[in-house]
Each structure stands twice: as C-alpha cells, then as structure tokens.
C-alpha cells in the first residue's frame, strides 16, 4: 500500500497551494489556492490531473483548506462553482468566516480596478461557502467511515490550521502555513506527538534563521514614528485580514503609550468590519489577548478611523492601511502612485512579495528609483521603504523542530523557493535520516505506508504481558535449571525436556 501525493501547486514555488493525497482510495485535496503572480490559466492548479472526465465530486473524498489566504483558498469558488465540485469542504470557523471577505476583496480588485473578466461572482462565493463545514481545533471529524481529519493550531493567521488525516493505520499531516513563535495576536503552532507516515510542510523560509521578533517590531514602530514626526504619510499595504490587525494592534498600543495623535486610517469599510470578526473569534488568538477580552477586547482599536478618498492628498501626517497587500493593484496602488514621489513618506512592505507584483519590484529597488507599474506608467519612487522583517511564517529552525518533534517516516516540502528547499531537504535527510522530497508542480510522489495485521489477543496474554506476575517469574527462575530457560508463563500444556 502506498500514499500518492500529487502536487498541483506550490511545488518548488510560493502560490496556488494545492496537494492531492491519495490514501487507500481516499483522495483528499489540501488547499485550493491561486497564484497572485499570473493572470492566465497558470493562476489556478491544473485540476484536470485529478480527473480527466471532470467528475471531481466523485474523484475527491473531501477538500481541506488550512487558512484564508488567497494562495490557499483563491481557487475554491472556481473549483466548486465553475468546475462543479460538490463534495465536502472543511476549514476552521475563522477561515469560514473570513474567507468570503478575502475572496470578495480579491474579486473586486480584479473586476473594478483592473477591469478584468471576473472568475467568479459574489453569489458564487456565497454559494461556495455554504458547502463548507466548519471545524474546531482538535475536533476529530469523521469524513466517512474510514477517513478522519483533525485541525491543529498553526498560528500563521487567525484560524490557520495544520490538518491531520488518517485512513486506517495510515496517517499524515499537512501543515499549511505555520508559525512556531507566538506573535502579538496569535499563539505558536501546537500539535500532538503523532505517529505519521508523512508530513507535508511549507518551507517559505527554508534557510532563514531569525532572532527575536520584538527587536524587529521596534524597528518598524521607530520607522513609522520618525516618518509621522516629520509630517510624512505612511502607507501600509496589507491584505484585509491578518497582518492588518497585527500591525494595528502594534500601532494602537504604541500610540497609546507615546500619546500620539496622528490619525491611523483603514482604507475600506471592509477592514473595520473585519475587526468585528476578530472580536468574536478571540479564542483563536494568543493567550495574552484571550486573557483580557472580558474587560477590553484587544480588537477594539482606539485610534483607528475609516479613510476617505479625499484624504489622499490632505495635508499633515497620517498612517494608512490599504488593501491589497504587495501593492498588486487596487487602492494600495492608487495611493502608492500619489505618495511614492515624496521623500518624507514611507511605504512598508511585507517580508515576502510574490514575483510580478509592484511590491516585489520595490523590494529589490534602491530609492530613488523608477518603477514600471504597467506598460504605460512609470513612477519616480523617492519615499522611504521599510521592509517588515517579521513574518508569520516559521523559519528554518521552526521547520526542523516540527519535523523532529513529529518524526514522520517521510517529509514532502512545498511552498518555498527551489534552491532553498533543496538545502533544507538535504538537512532533513542527513540530520534526521528522514526521507524527504521537494516535488515540482504536477509531479506525483509515492511513498510506502505502514499498516497492521489485525489479530485477536486473549485477555490472559495481554494481562500477563502488560503486568507480568513477578512472583511467578521468580518461582520459575528459582527452578531455572529444570525449565532450561524456557519462558514458562505463556505456555500452558505439555513441556518436554531433553
């Protein structure tokens, strides 16, 4: 018997995470993401590899989505509403609550701003989400008679989970994205010691080792403070959820402490609404945030207000959170165009930007620089650029720690950059002696699986093996010469001595 892993996305790259695992006729799709860097057919996983006939409902047992980031869920409405998959879908409560916001935000950006043909409509997003079964952490879900899945806390964003799946004696873990160190609003990933045949883990920071996060947070706050103190405007392009809330908690707290009065804006009503969800889902945040919710919910931001388009060129300093992140278009790009030419302003970039986005180009640029937005537009970037060096992904040490802790029989690396993954793969194989793979997209890895032969044991045998009758053994050993070293406990009947 074997486990077959078909990597449809995030193989030796970051984007459109999608792995289809087959265990004893059960086919589970982990994540159904889209690639932000492409606009053609490459943005979706190649679903035709699952089923030639296109009957996905019968070819897949279920879909499991680890968290609400688009590179993990972006293709889901397309897969269910356009490709016609109609089977069960599982995700955690926060993911189910927040995913529609993410998808709708993306759809709007694509249609309203880029004028592109929409991949799926708002109604289709809602239809798709209706098919989703929400699960709680550690809740053991019996998908069907043989397949069991369970979510573990992954810490990456609110509601992110690692998923454990078991069919008979074969068990695997798919980590999704995770973070092994707690941050200001989320805890660290947590998982039980399990007996696993396979772990499929992300490897975004396959070779990076990071030091304390607090120092980096201070750096960020200092940069922002310096900018607003000089009367500049700070643009923080983020996705609506996750990073926005984390940074906002940081700033809100800092504003309070430093008694700053500079306004902090959220770009659309959307993000303010998102805070509402965060308040209800406070049990999925870090212990520290949880402990205080009864007196003051940490997501009741005091210094934050909504942004109005007319404020873009209003005088005076401000901090603005704008979607989407990585400045891949939409409102954040619009504001960026206006603010980038001024030296006093500041743009923060997340630690990771997908290739093809403006954010990615900025990361490698040295200001002042000329950045091509598209074929016709070029802007002078003179503003400061601050790269956020704290990231909700685990570093290499975290990956190794997790693999060591779980000690699976095999490891597959996904969601990373090819050369770095190769290094990590070497390390896992040589340090831990665990066989490790880093398949490219559309490759299949087949690994053997353990299983057990079923037998029936008498109570007497189990009893005597688990709690041996020591008195009896001593008696036997006293008469050891007679018994010739035979183990007399388990053998009733006749013995013959030569």
């Amino acid at each position: 018997m074997a486990i077959e892993c078909l990597v449809l996305g995030a193989g030796q790259e970051v984007g459109k995470s999608c792995v289809v695992v087959t265990i004893n006729d059960k086919k589970i799709m982990f994540d159904c993401g889209m690639h932000m860097g492409y606009l053609d057919h490459r943005r979706y996983p190649d679903f035709s590899l699952i089923s030639k006939s296109g009957d996905f409902t019968n070819s897949l047992t279920c879909i499991v989505v680890t968290h609400f980031h688009l590179d993990h869920i972006g293709a889901l409405p397309y897969f269910t509403e356009v490709c016609g998959y109609n089977g069960p879908i599982y995700m955690t409560y926060p993911t189910k609550a927040l995913a529609p916001l993410m998808l709708e935000d993306y759809r709007k950006v694509m249609v309203d701003r880029r004028g592109e043909e929409e991949q799926f409509s708002s109604e289709q997003i809602l239809e798709c989400m209706k098919k989703v079964t929400a699960v709680d952490l550690k809740q053991t879900v019996q998908v069907d008679k043989d397949l069991q899945i369970r979510a573990y806390y992954a810490g990456h964003v609110l509601g992110a989970a690692m998923f454990y799946a078991r069919v008979g004696d074969v068990a695997i873990v798919y980590t999704g994205d995770y973070n092994m160190t707690p941050d200001r609003h989320l805890g660290a990933a947590q998982i039980d010691r399990l007996q696993l045949d396979l772990v499929i883990t992300e490897s975004t920071y396959a070779t990076t080792y990071r030091d304390s996060k607090y120092a980096r947070e201070r750096e960020f706050l200092k940069a922002v403070h310096k900018c607003v103190a000089g009367g500049g405007k700070v643009l923080i392009p983020t996705f609506a959820l996750g990073r926005a809330q984390e940074l906002c908690m940081l700033l809100d707290d800092y504003w309070e402490r430093m008694n700053l009065k500079v306004p902090i804006y959220f770009s659309a009503g959307l993000t303010v609404q998102a805070n509402m969800y965060y308040k209800m889902l406070i049990n999925w945040t870090s212990q520290k945030v949880k402990d205080t919710y009864a007196t003051r919910n940490a997501f009741d931001f005091k210094h934050v207000c909504s942004f109005d388009r007319s404020l873009i060129n209003a005088p005076g300093p401000c901090v603005l959170f704008a979607t989407p992140g990585m400045i891949s278009g939409g409102f954040s790009l619009e504001v960026f165009k206006q603010w980038a030419p001024y030296e006093g302003n500041l743009v923060t970039l997340p630690g990771y930007c997908v290739a093809g986005t403006v954010g990615h180009r900025l990361m490698s640029a040295k200001t002042p620089a000329q950045i091509n937005i598209d074929q016709d537009t070029q802007i002078d970037v003179r503003c400061q650029i601050h790269q956020l060096s704290f990231s909700p992904h685990t570093d290499a040490k975290g990956i190794l720690d997790l693999v060591k802790f779980l000690s699976p029989k095999h490891v597959i690396l996904v969601h990373g950059e090819k050369p770095k993954m190769a290094t990590l793969k070497e390390k896992i194989q040589s340090q831990m002696g665990i066989q490790c793979f880093d398949p490219a997209n559309n490759e299949t890895v087949s690994i053997p699986s353990t299983h057990y032969v079923k037998a029936v044991a008498s109570d007497a045998l189990l009893q005597s093996s688990l709690s041996p009758n020591l008195k009896f053994i001593r008696k036997c050993s006293e008469r050891g010469s007679d018994f010739g070293g035979l183990d007399a406990r388990t053998k009733p009947g006749l013995k013959v001595f030569r």
Binding site: Y93, K96, A97, P100, M129, A134, D136, L137, K138, Q139, T140, V141, Q142, R150, D169, Q195, Q273, M276, Y277, K279, M280, L281, I282, N283, Y293, A294, N297, T450, H451, Y452, V453, K454, A455, V456, A457, S458, D459, L462, S465, L466, G484, G485, L486, K491, G493, L494, K495, V496, F497, R498
Partner: protein, 693 residues
C-alpha cells in the same frame, strides 16, 4: 464491567451521578450538588436585625436566637410550615451521599457533562487523596467556573450575618434539633431513608474553586482524549445547554456511550450530535426526562400519537423543530407577562439559572420593549455578569447553527452586545454596588441568581417586591414553590412557573435508539414503563439508585494490531490435531490510542535468535507404545494414582536395552534413565508424536 448509579438527580439543576468500572478504570460521571435543598434555610434578610430586638451585632443575635429557638420550636411541632420553621443558620450544601462511600483515591477519571455537573467537584478535588483526571468541555468548565465563583460570592453574605465559618453552623445538625424539624424539612435534611445527613458540607472557598478548575483538562467537542493509552474519551454535543455533552468511551473491549439529558434542537447551544454515538456497544441511558414532572403532561397525549416506531431520524428532526416552537412559545409567554407587569408599573424578576434561556429572554424582552416603545431598563445583577456576557459572545464554536450563521454574516452572536452598548442592558456586580444605586430605576426587568431563592440578589429584590401585586416573579417548575416562597409570604407578587425542555421526550427515545443501533442499553428502572423491550433490537437492563449493575461483556477478546514487518516474519506450523496453524512470535506489546499493538521492538534480529523448541499436544498412550515398540524397546505399562486422587500418572517402564521410566502426567512427561542414548531415543519418539514449533 460494572455500572453504579450513585444518584438519580433531580432534573436540570441536579444531574444524575454514576460510577463506571471499565477496563480496570473507575470513571465518575458528573459531580453535582443538590442546591434545591437550600430552601430548608432561611435566607439572609434585610430585616433580620430588627427581628432580634434591634440588636446590631450578628453574633449576639445568633446566640439569642439559639437560646430561644429550642423552647420556641418545641411548642410548634405540629404547626403548619411557616417562615419560622426554616433553619436559621449558615447554610450547608448537600452533595451526593453515595459518593462518600467511595474512596476518592480510587477514582481514575471524572467526566463532566454539564456546568451543573461541576458544582460539587471542589469537594472532591480539595481532598488530598484525589488524583483522578477530570475532563470537561471548555465551555462547560468556563460556565461552571463562573457559577461556582458566583456561588462563593453569594454565600459570603451569610458569613457576614452568621459570623466566620463553623460557628454555630452545626447547631441544627444535632439530633435533638433535627427531631424537631417539620416533616418536609426533615426529609430534605435526612433524605427519604434518613441517611443523607452526612452529605451536608460547608461551602468550598474561592481557592478550592481555583484549584478545582486547574485540575480540569478541557476538551473541544469531538476531541480525542486518551486516558492511559487505553481509553479513548470523546465529548459530543448534547444540545441541552452551552457546552453540555454526551460521552463516548472506547476501550479495546468495545465502546460505550453515556447519553445524558439531550435536546434535539436548541436555539442557543450546538445541537445534539447523536450521529457520533452510533453503533456503540452499550448505551448508558441517563436521561430521566419522562419522570421529571411536567414534560409528560405537555406531550404525553399527542406524543403517543406521533411516536411511530418506524420513523426515521429525519422525522425526529422535524418533530424536534416542532417542539422548538413550543419552547419559543413559552419564552413569548414570559415576555408578554413581563410586558403586562411593566405596563402596570411593576417590575419583573427572573432568577433563572439557565444561560441559554437567559440569553434568549434578553433578546426577546428587549425586542418586546422596543416594539411597544417602553423605556424600561434591563438589569443583570451578578458578580460574574460581565464575564458571562463577554464570554457568550466569543464562542461561536459552541453555539447552534443559527448563531453561527450570525458570525458568518459579521453580526455579533447575541444582540446583548448592542444592547449593552446602548445601555439598554446594564450589568451590576452586586445589589449594593455603587453603580446600581446610582442607576437604579423602577419598574425594571432583572435577571439575577439564584433560582433557589435563598442566595444572592434575588432575596433582596423579592423582599422588596413581594407585596407588589403588579410585579412578577418568573421561576421554574421543579422547585418546590410553596417552600421556596415561604420566607416571602404573604406573596402578593405574581408568580409565573414554567418548565423548559431539558431532555429527550419519551416519544423520541425509541426512534433515537433505533438510529443509534446499540447492542445493549442500560435504562433507569423508573423508565421501565416507557420502554417496550419487545420492539427493540437491543437487549436492555435496568438500574436504580445505589445499585451496582453488571454490564454485559462487550467482547471476549481484545483486538491486537501486529506490525506488518513482524507479521511477515512469522513461521507457521500446522498442528497435527485440528486445522490450526501456529507460530511463535516475539515483539513489544504496546498500548496506544486505545489499541494494543505488537511492534518489532528494539532487538535487532529476532528471527536469528536460537530459541528452544517447544512441543505441544497431549500424549496418546497407545500411539506412544506403538512407536516405542517400533524401535524395539521392551516395555510394560503401569497406571498410578496418589492416595487422594489428585495425582494420576502413566508409568512406562523400559526394560531393554537399558532401564528407563517414562512418567506421563497431564502436565509433563519425565524420562528417567542412566543411558544417554536411550534417553534421546525415547525423547525423539515422543517428539515425533507431538507438535513442535
């Protein structure tokens, strides 16, 4: 496997309590206490000081009362029960007396199925001998924790009146005092059979509660907990209240489901997850709903008409929704009565202890007030009100589908969030808090503990409003109203008694069990009349309080998983007698996740080890003699029996070529000879007629 019913309980607030002996572990189900027996005590009274001639200090007041009371009571033995008959002392709390018969250290696991089932737990956990692992759902533990904290806070008021712990609080427990009690109170104090006096305990402290909560391992619904590797324990939603659960225990011997009071469709709590209890070998049916009073009268008649034994579970769902409407109607009735009172200038007092009901009533009453344009404030007076309100809005995972849908649409789970922001609902920690005194307006609608009407803010508010005929008190059926209201008589205030659905109604029990497909069900003896065993596909037995019942053996043998690499190394030998293949095996026996596993173990190469040959089988004497003669031995046979008949042996004497004796008994065969060659010759012959491996 043994099952003991320690207490059948008394409805929602006092769930039943059991001990199950399974796979050598003792599992205690719930540890409640009987708070309804608090009605025996006199509540703290705002005018209790004036009663003893204006003496201010409570201590002297206490003493003078003690002196007088004996004389006083003796005179009125046969008088009807009135306020003066109630016990004037710091109350004690009644725990389950049968639990006291057990050595606490012998309990291995405690499973808590509802917040009410936790209330007596600190009495156990504060015992130094207590070493059990306690499991409860996260929500039940949290709500239970708040309830206990509230209880401890409310009890402080008694300490203020009666002085520090212990002083005089045992006075009423003396026999001469007990003898003088009116029969109603005597029954509460001593129990029906007069054995329950030992169950009265001084309340635990806040530190005991904290310590107790720390000992609880909290679970999510359907989370697997492994106890000692042997038991797999899982909690599944029971629909009764937020966080309540049924338990599934799987051990290598089979599976057991603990079916507590469950509600099919709940407006707030996550609904009854019966599918997860399917195909258990044994169901412990612990829902006493049909015997708990009013539910029978409501549903008895139409119930029998709709109870079609062949109905599928889909029908059950549908009907359950129908009785959900019934529950809604009850709430609507409470609302309309409240509106009437408020309009007449009276206040509404709702000392209900069910979180789910309170949350629904808050929403509905606020809605009614708004639609009728009444500006009447809603107050919640409790030391834990603030925490409870905050908590209920951050637990979508524990709520019904309708409430979860509010999360998905970005609305708060309960309307009280907005109502609190608008100050239409106000929270006060205590009746004497400054915030209350400065904000108080009447008429008003008040939610507060405690439903026994002996503890907490309710006592003061009742004393204030009991003569106001426009005000209304909402209380639950199941509480002895005449006794509960005794200290407040004459009651002019209206009293609305209502019952809320708190378990499986008898007409749904059969289709439910049909869906669950158990092999055996243990029912309460009290339910026997509701069960028709002839129509059931499972066997059943009946238990009553204080009895221990043997649960039929689930499986003869346990399952054992053998690792494939180990199994492939086995070398089978076919036995001469019968069609049996046998093989020797050596491995490490492990028990993990409720399964026995045989693993190859750490020794490198098991197969290459030299192992002594083992012979198996019984010696057929005739066959042996034939074989021995074949190798040309001269033999005689002799049968011997010892004097007492315990020892029987066949002796085969070999005369030629050398002397030898073969002594054959059931247990062994012994060859004695001085000739080495002969010995091995005989041994081989014997081996040839035996199986060896």
């Amino acid at each position: 496997m043994e099952f003991t019913c320690l207490s059948e309980g008394k409805g929602f607030y006092f769930p039943p309590c059991y001990i199950l002996d399974i796979c050598g572990f003792r599992v205690l189900f719930d540890c409640p206490m009987d708070l309804s027996s608090l009605t025996m005590f006199l509540p703290v009274s705002t005018d209790s000081f004036t009663m003893c001639n204006g003496e201010i200090t409570s201590r002297s007041c206490q003493k003078s009362m003690d002196l007088e009371s004996n004389v006083y009571k003796r005179q009125k033995i046969d008088k009807p029960l009135d306020e003066s008959s109630l016990i004037r002392s710091e109350p004690r709390y009644k725990i389950i007396k049968n639990l006291l018969l057990w050595n606490v250290s012998f309990i291995d696991v405690v499973l808590i199925s509802s917040p009410m089932g936790i209330l007596g737990l600190p009495f156990l956990t504060r015992n130094k001998e207590f070493s059990a692992k306690v499991y409860a759902t996260e929500a039940a533990a949290r709500i239970g924790h708040l309830m206990m904290e509230d209880l401890v806070t409310m009890h402080k008021e008694f300490r203020q009146v009666y002085g520090p712990e212990g002083s005089g609080s045992r006075q009423w427990m003396k026999w001469e005092e007990l003898e003088l009690l009116p029969s109603e109170l005597k029954e509460i104090a001593l129990g029906k059979d007069g054995t329950e006096l030992a169950g009265w305990m001084l309340l635990y402290s806040a530190a005991d509660v904290k310590d107790c909560i720390q000992k609880i391992q909290t679970l999510k619904y359907a989370e697997e907990a492994f106890y000692n590797g042997t038991l797999i324990i899982k909690a599944f939603a029971s629909g009764l209240e937020i966080g309540t659960c049924n338990w599934s225990i799987i051990c290598p011997k089979g599976s057991i489901a603990y079916l507590s009071s469950s509600v099919f469709s709940s407006a707030t709590a996550m609904c009854f997850d019966y599918n997860s209890l399917q195909r258990s070998d044994v169901i412990l049916y612990t829902d006493f709903t049909p015997c708990n009073g009013s539910n029978i009268s409501n549903d008895g008649d139409n119930g029998s008409a709709t109870a079609d034994p062949n109905q599928s579970i889909d029908n059950v769902n549908w009907e359950a929704i129908a009785d959900d409407y019934q529950e809604m109607e009850k709430l609507d009735f409470i609302c309309s009565c409240s509106m009437d009172s408020v309009k007449a200038g009276g206040s509404v007092l709702i000392p209900v202890g069910r979180v789910g009901i309170i949350l629904q009533l808050l929403e509905r009453i606020a809605l009614c007030l708004e639609s009728q344009n009444l500006k009447v404030p809603i107050y919640i007076v409790s030391s834990v009100a603030e925490e409870m309100m905050a908590f209920t809005n951050v637990i979508p995972e524990w709520l019904s589908k309708q409430r979860q849908d509010r999360l998905y649409s970005g609305q708060p789970l309960f309307n009280h969030v907005e109502l609190l922001n608008d100050k239409r609902i106000q929270l006060f920690p205590a009746i004497h808090s400054l915030k209350l005194l400065t904000n108080w307006q009447e008429p008003c609608i008040v939610f507060c503990p405690h439903w026994s009407l002996r503890l907490g803010p309710v006592v003061h508010l009742l004393q204030r409003w009991c003569r106001d005929e426009n005000s209304i008190l909402v209380m639950e059926e199941g509480v002895d109203a005449s006794l509960a209201l005794l200290p407040f008589s004459p009651m002019k205030m209206k009293v609305l008694q209502c019952s809320f659905l708190s378990g499986i109604q008898s007409q749904f029990s059969r289709p439910l069990l049909k869906t669950l497909q158990p092999r055996h069900v243990l029912f309460p003896e009290k339910l026997r009349q509701h069960i028709d065993p002839s129509k059931n596909l499972f066997s059943s037995s009946y238990y009553s309080e204080g009895e221990t019942l043997n649960v039929p053996n689930l499986k003869e043998n346990s399952e054992l998983d053998i690792a494939v690499d180990l199994a492939s190394r086995l070398q089978y030998t076919t036995l001469k007698q019968g069609n049996i293949n046998i093989a020797r095996l050596k491995g490490e026996l492990a028990i993990e996740q409720g399964k026995y596993r045989l693993l190859p173990g750490t020794e490198q190469d098991v197969s290459s080890q030299i192992r002594p040959v083992v012979h198996l089988g019984r010696i057929n004497l005739d066959a042996l003699l034939t074989e021995l003669r074949k190798i040309a031995l001269n033999i005689t046979v002799e049968e011997t029996t010892s004097a007492d008949g315990s020892y029987k042996a066949s002796l085969v004497h070999v005369l030629k070529p050398n002397k030898a004796t073969i002594e054959i008994t059931k247990a062994q065969t012994l060859i004695s000879t001085a000739d080495k060659n002969l010995a091995s010759q005989i041994s081989e012959t014997i081996s040839s007629i035996l199986d060896c491996f």
